[in-house]
Symmetry: C2
Subunit: 367 residues, 2 copies
Amino acid sequence: MTITQLPTPGFSFELLATLGNARAGILHTPRGDILTPAFMPVGTAGTVKAMTPAELVTPPIDARIILGNTYHLYLRPGLEVMRAVGGLHRFAGWSRPILTDSGGFQVFSLAGINAIDDEGVTFRSHIDGSKHRLTPEVSMDIQGVLGSDIAMCFDQCPPGDAAPEVIDRAIARTTAWAHRCLAVARPAGQALFGIVQGGIDLDRRHAHRAVLAELPFDGLAIGGLSVGEDIPEMYRVLDGLVADFPSTRPRYLMGVGTPADLERGVAAGVDMFDCVMPTRNARNGSLFTSVGKVTISNAKHRADPGPLDPECPCDTCATASRAYLRHLHMSREILFNRLATLHNLTFYARHMRRLRDRILSQGAKAP
Amino acid sequence: MTITQLPTPGFSFELLATLGNARAGILHTPRGDILTPAFMPVGTAGTVKAMTPAELVTPPIDARIILGNTYHLYLRPGLEVMRAVGGLHRFAGWSRPILTDSGGFQVFSLAGINAIDDEGVTFRSHIDGSKHRLTPEVSMDIQGVLGSDIAMCFDQCPPGDAAPEVIDRAIARTTAWAHRCLAVARPAGQALFGIVQGGIDLDRRHAHRAVLAELPFDGLAIGGLSVGEDIPEMYRVLDGLVADFPSTRPRYLMGVGTPADLERGVAAGVDMFDCVMPTRNARNGSLFTSVGKVTISNAKHRADPGPLDPECPCDTCATASRAYLRHLHMSREILFNRLATLHNLTFYARHMRRLRDRILSQGAKAP
């Protein structure tokens, strides 16, 4: 058992066991323990869509950490409101850890970009077209007001098919911005993770990883994957990269992925994941089960009195038939989004718990 | 204490106390007791929108009965599905009583009417335009498949501004259809209520009431109010009509209403109510509180860290600030519909409980 005190007071990483490159551990934070490998449900705008905090902390979901989106919360409700209510935890009624992204990914993917320069990004809100500017310092200030437990560096994430020179410029900027994020004073109890870029080029990835590993980050993330590249390319990068990350700090694969992606990521040595897939797919009627993906709108479920997944312990599978779920989905009932999201998050939580248990039971105890 | 066995085996009405014309009692049914006066949340399409059954049966809501809409459930999911899953209770996971309307009101208000005759109504579905025919016999058959605890007679409900001859024809048809509904065999444990029509004309109302009171209904309803007439007119009809209903059977005011309407209805002697107002208003951001109606989109709530209603014991008021509720509403988050509906149904439930407690504490015990 190896416990490493991380640079930010109150944070430590405990490595419990390894199985090949896969790791099982605990990220200790002032707001509670995060059992790794961990999946973080995405709470874009101050809510994991359709769910209450009480449902998320109740087993079998038992989410130890959720993600909040800096870009969305900065635009709405905005910092004045966030200050008035005392930060994101109190706003959303969530007392366990929260990780906030930097806003960078959303600015590059959702907003209308006016200008990117070495200083930062000027963009227009996707809500009302208003003009805003995000820099490493502004992103850190916003994350400070949100009061997240883990802040992320403001980075530049190029698309999956970006040219080498675009990727090199993004790497250089991300490195410069990493230094600037570290220089900003954070509220007590807020850790900071750096983000490794470099597209699908392993040499570039390793070079950037080596640079960031020297900086006093509490953890390192892999950004810029699952942004349009082929899946085998993503797996190749993970397999060739993650094991060389510092073993004493948590590793976070951003925005990934399918259950299979999570399994591959864990095998490569990743400790933390986030993705909208379980929650978004749920609302679209695409449900993960022990017998494969179920498209609930399919007519074959029309009069099926059986449960969605007989092996699932969630309330949805305990109380609703496939026929009822299909009816709610076809009728666009709000209750469908609740029941489907509860189920998909349960599936993801159990998937991660199985992967973790396998490492603990079959792996080697950390020295 | 007076317990009257109602015509349908397993159903009895217990009158506990009266205060003027107001009554407090218990409607005993095979699936449980309904404390009256009672408000029935509306579960249009097999779900009280945004709510789970577990939330509805948990105090302070503790709904003893909900309403299901025959028209909606007949069109979707349809009777084949309903038969396959074993009825509405199992379909929706609701084990307490359900009252189903006859489908008449929705046919007249939602569907495209092709023809009304003494036999029944031919209409087109508001979902896909398909052609259907509803008669007293068909309505009873559908309600039998749904397996509701209280079925309603198929009636003709004219608009509030209908001409006298239109109202007279609706009364005559409703009477003839009442006899035909009574003639249909019902599943064991299903009661049947008649519906008194007559617009806002007290003489017509009394004449129809007298006719229906002679028939072996388990309860009598007032239909055709809150359909466009002025509020004082509705109150005048209630005050002049309801006290003459048989005192030994439950009285149900259909589709009403505001908290003030419920109070007036209870004072006039009504025992049961249903209305989409608490649930629909919730989704539109209109919230009932002890300090009056709150329009949550109002900018003044933007940074308000206080609860929606400090006197309300619901989870919404315990966990969410007005600022958070407003944010969720402005962001069109599903969670808003949940939290708002939970609150409004709590408000209605507590309102009814207060009215009932006042009758019990200040009224005369029934002999």
